[in-house]
């Protein structure tokens, strides 16, 4: 894929910010999604190491080689571009950095928007150029 520079009008980084802690728990961190501006709590039931917005699936380029290493200085916006299925059947989201072109693969989370995931899953099939005869032979 050609690496292209996408000029962004909004360069505010998706930084963690502190929310008022009402329950005195450790669940105080949240980030604002660079895609839809939703305030997303970092932790949620059934969700470990959240790395994308559960509403619009957008992520931020902070990891370099290993998920969670936080070693990238790019901080570009990463859009979900596809889904893959692990051998154990789990869906994985493929993210693509609009700044530097890098790809990453991430587990879906328990509270990801099912409709957004499903739209991603049907995207190749909504292409009118897909030959129907190929579909029929599957």
């Amino acid at each position: 894929m050609p690496r292209r520079k996408v000029r962004r009008t909004d360069r505010r980084p998706q930084r963690a910010k502190d929310l008022p802690d009402r329950r005195g728990s450790a669940h105080t961190d949240a980030f604002r999604c660079v895609g839809c501006r939703l305030d997303v709590p970092l932790s949620a039931p059934g969700t470990a190491h959240r790395n994308h917005c559960p509403h619009c699936l957008t992520s931020l380029h902070v990891d370099r080689r290993i998920p969670g290493d936080r070693d990238a200085d790019c901080r570009g916006r990463m859009e979900a571009m596809g889904l893959s299925v692990r051998p154990d059947g789990e869906w994985m989201l493929i993210h693509h950095c609009l700044e530097c072109g890098e790809l990453s693969v991430n587990r879906i989370a328990g509270d990801d928007n099912p409709l957004a995931l499903l739209r991603m899953a049907v995207r190749p099939l909504s292409d009118s150029r897909v030959p129907v005869r190929v579909l029929l032979t599957l």
Binding site: L83, G89, I94, E102, L115
Partner: protein
């Protein structure tokens, strides 16, 4: 694509139509160019590739391991991309699907998520 054999060395700078490579997975001898003149990065028969470029730092990669096709992604212009993952180092690449790529394998990759949904699809009705 592990080995590159050129049937002629008279034109070192230009890309020869006769140049071929052998697929690291299925062993097929493949022309390096597609019928419409694009340079291949994966085998048109099994869609496997070889890790020859470093995606993070750019330039050639020393990995040279096999890359398996794991997903189909669609660009805004409708073009299909084949997402590959290296079996040794897990690096990812995206490359355009080519005109003579195996349509059955492309479709199988494309429908795989829908065949194994993490939630019941019936709840959605018409999309």
């Amino acid at each position: 694509m592990s080995t590159t054999n050129s049937s002629s060395s008279s034109n070192p700078s230009g890309f020869l139509r006769t140049e071929t490579f052998t697929c690291v997975w299925c062993g097929l001898a493949v022309t390096a160019l597609t019928p419409d003149g694009h340079r291949r990065n994966h085998c048109p028969s099994c869609l496997h590739s070889c890790h020859v470029l470093d995606q993070v730092d750019g330039g050639p990669s020393e990995c040279q391991s096999r890359m398996t096709p794991i997903s189909i992604a669609v660009l805004r212009n409708g073009d299909w991309m084949v997402i590959h993952r290296c079996v040794r180092c897990d690096e990812l690449t995206a490359n355009r699907a080519q005109v003579d790529d195996n349509q059955l394998i492309l479709m199988r990759l494309a429908v795989r998520p829908l065949a194994q949904p993490p939630f019941p699809l019936e709840a959605f009705g018409a999309l």
